[in-house]
């Protein structure tokens, strides 16, 4: 039987914090993830707290230090149409364009995309299909069908904007009863597919802060249906050149319950010239750094191969962009 959660429209951040602290309540951004999950019986929350009525969450603004702030309830379509954001942060714009379809981008919010519920092909199925299996970790059981030896859920974080925001070095403004704090985007994810966010009850994301001087970056994505699909794997790479140093951020997403930074590859490419050998060596470090399970649409070998393929493609594109800017790759 379909559940009918309450839909509450608070008008202040304090009201949101109070409502989110209640048991069984969830933030409602655009509903593009929550509503189908409710329809399939995957979301059983009793209250949806709609963010779109809180002014702080619906604005794109600049703080006193000149950094762009995007409210969590700003839709992906609005960000793409913004006269400055797409130009200043092409890495973010590319990631947003890779999300779903124009209709869904007109509705889905950036906060919602970051907090997208994890997906697994053993769980994201119609109720009658799921009734043939005992509940898994995420459904309240004690078993994982994708990784039977695992002691926790390995469902996939399918956000496209998360790797891009991590590569950009964006910060998230987390509101709670004790005020607000800023966290790194990567720190939002716990690594457990069941409770995949590190947010405590009563905590919620109000806005995303982008850096003043964005690094040069590239986003790429591998999916089964080119026009609309969740990623089998996605990648965001960015580079900041200083006089005698180079800082890299390489992030693979949709490989498991959290996006993964490839620290070894970052170190390799940060240290020396990007000759073909070093590039390939950096790409191959992904083999040991990510461990996907058989819970996507293609198998483990396919996803690892796709990860290396799009990482190489993104790095080559980044190298061309650096050369065009007159920077040594």
């Amino acid at each position: 039987m379909t559940r009918h959660p309450r839909l509450i429209k608070p008008s202040t951040t304090q009201d949101v914090t109070r409502l989110v602290k209640e048991a069984e309540s969830k933030i409602f951004g655009g509903g593009t993830d929550l509503v189908p999950n409710r329809t399939w019986g995957l979301d059983t929350s009793g209250t949806w707290v709609q963010l779109g009525t809180v002014p702080e969450t619906t604005m794109i603004s600049i703080d006193e230090e000149g950094r762009w702030l995007i409210g969590a309830a700003v839709t992906l379509g609005v960000i793409l149409e913004h006269p400055k954001i797409s130009t200043l942060y092409p890495l973010l714009a590319d990631a947003i364009r890779a999300v779903a379809t124009p209709e869904i981008r007109n509705q889905a919010t950036i906060g919602g995309n970051l907090c997208l519920d994890t997906r697994c092909r053993f769980r994201n199925q119609p109720p009658i299909w799921r009734s043939g299996l005992k509940p898994c970790f995420k459904s309240g059981g004690d078993h994982c069908y994708a990784a039977p030896a695992s002691s926790r859920c390995v469902a996939i974080v399918s956000s496209d904007t998360a790797p891009a925001l991590i590569a950009l070095g964006a910060r998230l403004k987390v509101q709670s009863t004790s005020g607000f704090r800023w966290i790194k985007t990567l720190d939002l994810y716990s690594g457990d597919g069941d409770r995949h966010l590190t947010l405590e009850p009563g905590e919620w994301i109000e806005a995303i802060r982008l850096p003043n001087f964005p690094p040069l970056g590239v986003f790429d994505k591998w999916r089964m249906r080119g026009s609309i699909d969740f990623p089998e794997v996605n990648v965001a790479v960015s580079v900041t050149q200083a006089k005698n140093s180079r800082t890299m951020r390489i992030v693979l997403g949709a490989m498991g319950p959290e996006p993964v930074r490839l620290r070894e590859a970052e170190k390799l490419l940060g240290e020396g010239p990007w000759d073909p050998e070093r590039l390939m060596h950096a790409v191959h470090t992904a083999r040991d750094a990510v461990h996907p399970y058989d819970n996507g649409q293609i198998g483990v070998v396919g996803r690892k191969g796709a990860a290396e393929h799009i990482l190489y493609r993104a790095l080559k594109k980044l190298r061309i962009m650096m050369e065009e800017k007159g920077e040594n790759a």
Binding site: P5, L7, G31, V35, P36, T39, P102, E103, I104
Partner: protein, 166 residues
């Protein structure tokens, strides 16, 4: 918990009904208001058959709780012709509707309402269309009969009609 009195503005007229606020707009349009032009395809946002305009923006009715759009103007495929006629009194069909018929872009017709709403918004927003614009805008629309070529052709034709008429 019980149903609420929900007031919606659909195709220019105010409709008041009892509904759960978390009911989808698609359910309310079809099952409560009887506007069955908007189709129920996948109920998961994959097919685009339920595309309607919410405050002029094409969105998916199957992903929209009705409580979240109570202050918005909703236009369904039934209201597309009237919307056009308000701006162009000579015709009560949108050029895209005529172009779909003339180009043979309708086979079983299930995807057509969604395609029409997406294409009409595209024609309204972009003055000089390229094929790339059309393909990108139709990315979320599945045609089970796979008649995509005629659909793209119809949108090209409607774009020309619109340009000629203005």
């Amino acid at each position: 918990m019980s149903q609420n009195l929900v007031e919606l503005s659909v195709n220019g007229s105010i409709q008041v009904m009892w509904a759960w606020e978390s009911d989808t707009l698609l359910h309310v349009l079809r099952e409560v208001l009887g506007l069955t032009g908007t189709k129920n395809g996948c109920e998961a946002g994959h097919c685009g058959a339920c595309t309607v305009w919410i405050d002029g923006i094409p969105r998916l009715a199957c992903l929209t709780p009705v409580g979240s759009v109570v202050n918005s103007e909703i236009t369904t495929v039934e209201g597309l012709g009237s919307w056009w006629q308000e701006r162009h009194p000579s015709s009560h069909y949108h050029p895209i509707q005529r172009a779909f018929v003339e180009s043979g872009a309708v086979q079983c017709g299930f995807c057509t309402p969604g395609m029409l709403m997406a294409a009409a918004a595209l024609l309204r927003d972009v003055k000089f269309l390229t094929d790339q614009d059309i393909l990108e805008r139709l990315a979320g629309h599945l045609c089970r009969c796979t008649g995509y070529e005629q659909i793209v052709q119809a949108i090209r034709q409607a774009a020309l009609t619109e340009v000629t008429e203005q």
